[in-house]
């Protein structure tokens, strides 16, 4: 396999996690990592008190990079000091949200950064057994990680009495078998226990209390764990100066879709706008095209329409509240503004769509994914995700009826907020937002009348004109 083309980082990038990605001559082995100062932070960390590392992570303001953006320090704080049960750390490397491609580069090109981040985290949380759950579709990545773990063990960074500290730690790589739901942390835990990846109900099964084998468990994303190393290096307070308040640090944005140069970029959170990302970082749209829509944070984030305007409240210099109106391209890439605009920064996967895209087709593509990946444990998501797919299938086959847009909206509303895990929102938000924001495209394709008498078994064919 020829090596992929090396990309030169954009000058406005702040490469920290991706510092070694696409670097000429940088290899994933431990010698290369050590030559570049690897495991120095681990050596520093083991001289600190675990509680102090947790405090630094809290001070850093780091928010989870997997998609939910939950503050990592707060999550870690759920582990009670003096916990008597074993505590587990799981690295969630099940990167499978469509539009997201960041963790794979860390795993493939700089695995020791992740391993070091994990070891420091385990030391901070008094974890002696950690798992690295990697999606089944990354077989090569799993090999690289296993090799990296063996190297780290051979050098004494891992295993019994690591670095002579008396601290024992084992890390095991576990490969998933190819299901999106294994990225949901409690589904992942079930899968790791050897069961069907059915997410658990919360309460009572919060991983930090009743996680893997009913023991306290911390599940963190690959990118999040890499940040731990840099927090130890910089100190929480200095790390918090990166980015914006409550949106600290750097994060990796992956852009795909209708831009000239799709790719991945590491930026200080909130330091650039959506417009700068598309036009400056990605070379703009293809010639002659106009922007139609953007999905800002992985396929489950609600879509933005290109001409959308948002009224945001902000604190003026004098402390009074002012309202600013901004467009989609003015949105800074941070957690809070994205949420205030009604979507989410999610996993950092930005999907750009231009005017050649048919939004019903786009939604149908997403609906196929979610209907296929719903685990089927709880009713609304199991039945609703396939129903939405069937409706968009039928509309595309020419059988759309007048009530379809309204029905799609209603079905998606009946899923969101009523399911065991966030998959309910993930599968319903695309439909909810696409139908609300591109109503005319749906209405334009859904004009027929529902046939007067509609035995369910035959209606689809009647509407689409298919013979049976």
């Amino acid at each position: 396999m020829p090596a992929p083309a090396r990309r030169i980082p954009h000058p406005r990038e702040k490469r920290m996690i991706f510092a070694n990605i696409d670097r000429e001559g940088y290899t994933p082995d431990i010698d290369c990592y050590l030559r570049h100062g690897g495991y120095a932070e681990l050596k520093k960390a083991v001289t600190l008190k675990p509680a102090d590392i947790v405090a630094e992570v809290k001070a850093s303001g780091l928010r989870g990079r997997g998609g939910a953006g939950f503050p990592t320090g707060v999550k870690w704080g759920f582990i009670r000091p003096g916990e008597t049960k074993p505590v587990y750390l799981i690295c969630n490397a099940d990167e499978s949200e469509p539009g997201t491609f960041k963790d794979r580069y860390i795993i493939h090109q700089d695995p020791h950064q992740l391993i070091e981040g994990m070891i420091i985290s385990c030391f901070a949380l008094n974890v002696h057994l950690a798992y690295l759950y990697i999606r089944g579709e990354f077989p090569h990545g799993a090999k690289i990680l296993e090799n990296a773990i063996a190297e780290a063990k051979a050098k004494g960074f891992l295993g019994k009495n690591l670095l002579g500290t008396g601290f024992d730690l084992e890390i095991y790589v576990h490969r998933g078998a190819g299901a999106y739901i294994c990225g949901e942390e409690t589904g992942l835990i079930e899968s790791l226990e050897g069961k069907r990846a059915y997410p658990r109900i919360k309460p009572p099964y919060f991983p930090a209390v009743l996680g893997l084998y009913m023991c306290p468990t911390i599940v963190n994303n690959v990118e999040t764990l890499c940040h731990i190393k840099h927090i130890v290096k910089m100190g929480g307070a200095d790390y918090a100066k990166l980015g914006k308040p409550n949106n600290t640090g750097t994060r990796i944005i992956g852009v795909s879709g209708d831009v000239q140069k799709p790719g991945y970029f590491e930026i200080e959170v909130g330091s650039i706008t959506m417009g700068e990302l598309i036009n400056d970082f990605c070379g703009g749209l293809k010639p002659g095209r106009t922007l139609k829509a953007i999905i800002p944070g992985g396929s489950s984030a609600k879509v933005f329409r290109a001409d959308e305007r948002f009224k945001l409240k902000a604190k003026a210099a004098d402390g009074s509240m002012v309202e600013n109106e901004i467009g989609v391209l003015d949105i800074p890439l941070d957690f809070d503004t994205m949420a205030a605009c009604g979507s989410m920064a999610g996993s950092g996967g930005v999907i750009v769509m231009d005017d050649t895209r048919d939004m019903v087709e786009v939604l149908n593509n997403l609906n196929h994914f979610y209907a296929h990946e719903s685990c089927g444990q709880c009713t609304p998501c199991r039945e609703g995700s396939l129903w939405m797919r069937k409706i968009t299938d039928r509309i595309l086959a020419g059988g759309g009826v007048e009530s379809d847009p309204e029905l799609l909206a209603s079905v998606s509303n009946r899923i969101a907020g009523k399911t065991i895990c966030a998959f309910g929102e993930a599968c319903s938000w695309p439909t909810m937002s696409f139908v609300a924001k591109f109503k005319e495209e749906f209405a334009g394709k859904a004009k027929k009348q529902v046939p007067a008498f509609t035995p369910p078994e035959f209606t689809s064919e009647i509407l689409t004109g298919a013979q049976h």
């Binding site: 109900i201 009572p204 089927g376 199991r382 396939l386 039928r394 209603s410 009523k418 065991i420 078994e457």
Partner: protein, 545 residues
Amino acid sequence: MSNEAPQNLVNVQIDGVWHQFPKGTRVIEACSQAGKYVPRYCYHPRLSAPGNCRMCMVQLGMPKMGPDRKPELGPDGKPVHNWIPRTNISCAQDVSEGLAVRTDSDIVKETREGILEFLLINHPLDCPICDQAGECRLQEFSFDYGQAKSRFIEQKVKKPKRVEIGPRVTLDAERCILCTRCIRFMREVAKDDVIGIVNRGSYNEIAVYPDRKLDSNYSLNTVDLCPVGALTSSDFRFKMRTWFLKETKSICTSCATGCNTIIGARENVVYRQTPRENNDVNQSWMCDHGRLDFHYLQSADRLLEPVVKGAPEADWKAALASAARALKALKPEEIALIASGRLTNEELFLAARLLKKLGNPIHDIISHTGKADDLLVAADRNPNTAGAKLLGLSATEPGSALPVIASGIRGGRIKALIVLGEDATDAGLIEADLNKLQTLIVTSLLPNRTTGFASHILPAAGFTEKRGSMINKTGRLQRLNRAVAAPGIARDDWEILVGLIEALTESVSGFTTIEEVFKAMSAEVPALAGLSLSKIGDLGVQLSL
């Protein structure tokens, strides 16, 4: 008045009314106790709560905390609530101090309607040919909380139908709502983790592991647990509409556990037996063997009328008079009686009276045993060994007097044998022994090796056909009730015994109802003092034996 709940109780507001519940009560149970039933599919109090059906969603309100971290109180002195603007499942959450629950707010109604719509879109809606109709939660909750019109105009998902997933259970995967009650029952209660889910999303279906069958002796409990028509009893399906069944509360007589049951019958035919909840006996379960152990009562071979050897036709009066005459001619040591641990206390009491009238001849019961399991099935397969011991029909060790009886018959010393509801060949007697007897009086339901040699065959009633009481292995006194009438002119055993006693003594015994028999028994037997059939109640009474 203080708002503080007594220790271990918490104050919870349900639909505006304050109640107190013990800590650890599930919200769903608290609602039921407050008279606000919350619909559910996957939740079952005896199984783990996976929270997967989402039917039991309610709106929860948390007490609003003031700046002093104490609940803010409203004008009524009760906490004010912050209502969560979405619904939560009530099956996995325990009550907490000050919690408020709405079971009927608009978002709760909208949620339920949505869940039911989702459950129905791929459901075949084949109620007219479905056995569950009439006791189907999907039907019931659709009626209560659903919407009348379907918005689904797509193709439904096709799944396997009529799958024999075990020798006694048939699966229709299209009707299944994937609540996983059956899976959890087999895993958590029956300890035979044989059912699971295959495929993904809407294509999910339950299935048994490759090369395995749902063949546990508890498999039919999954049919009871199934809230819809997905799992049906291969024995019962298509036999009778459930709404036609007359339900009679009774107990199972297949072993000494005495599982509480409901006998479902119509027009004098029993169609099924299902477990009835009793926390002190069988929880909500019963074994397949016991459940199906009623078909023998519907045999075409049932004994319908009394038979006296040599007499062309016999009515009850003549048969009993003939039997009494034969017995009266003998001395007590020439008579033996084999009773049964399957008889009711009333029958055993009368059998003891009969023994007394005959001058106390030798007697015993036959012990029937098998392998016990860890759940319900007892090693003692007699349902009323305890009653037989209490009423003096059993030797101290059940069955220990049987060899003495056998040798007495073989030696010609014993000339008459009375067998009550047993096959004497189970007592160590061989056909030549039976052939030797001058008089062999047998009460029985069906012809057996003993009836072939009987001088008097007295047709009796089966357990679904009679009333009475039994004492299970833990000393619990429980009631049988009559669901159907005995066939032909077969009689209740207690009536046969009263008739025999009256014929022997040529007097009136004074027993015209079974209540009178119980009354006499409770007067004589200290363990039963103060009790009556009605006082036993549906759930039985624990005796101190």
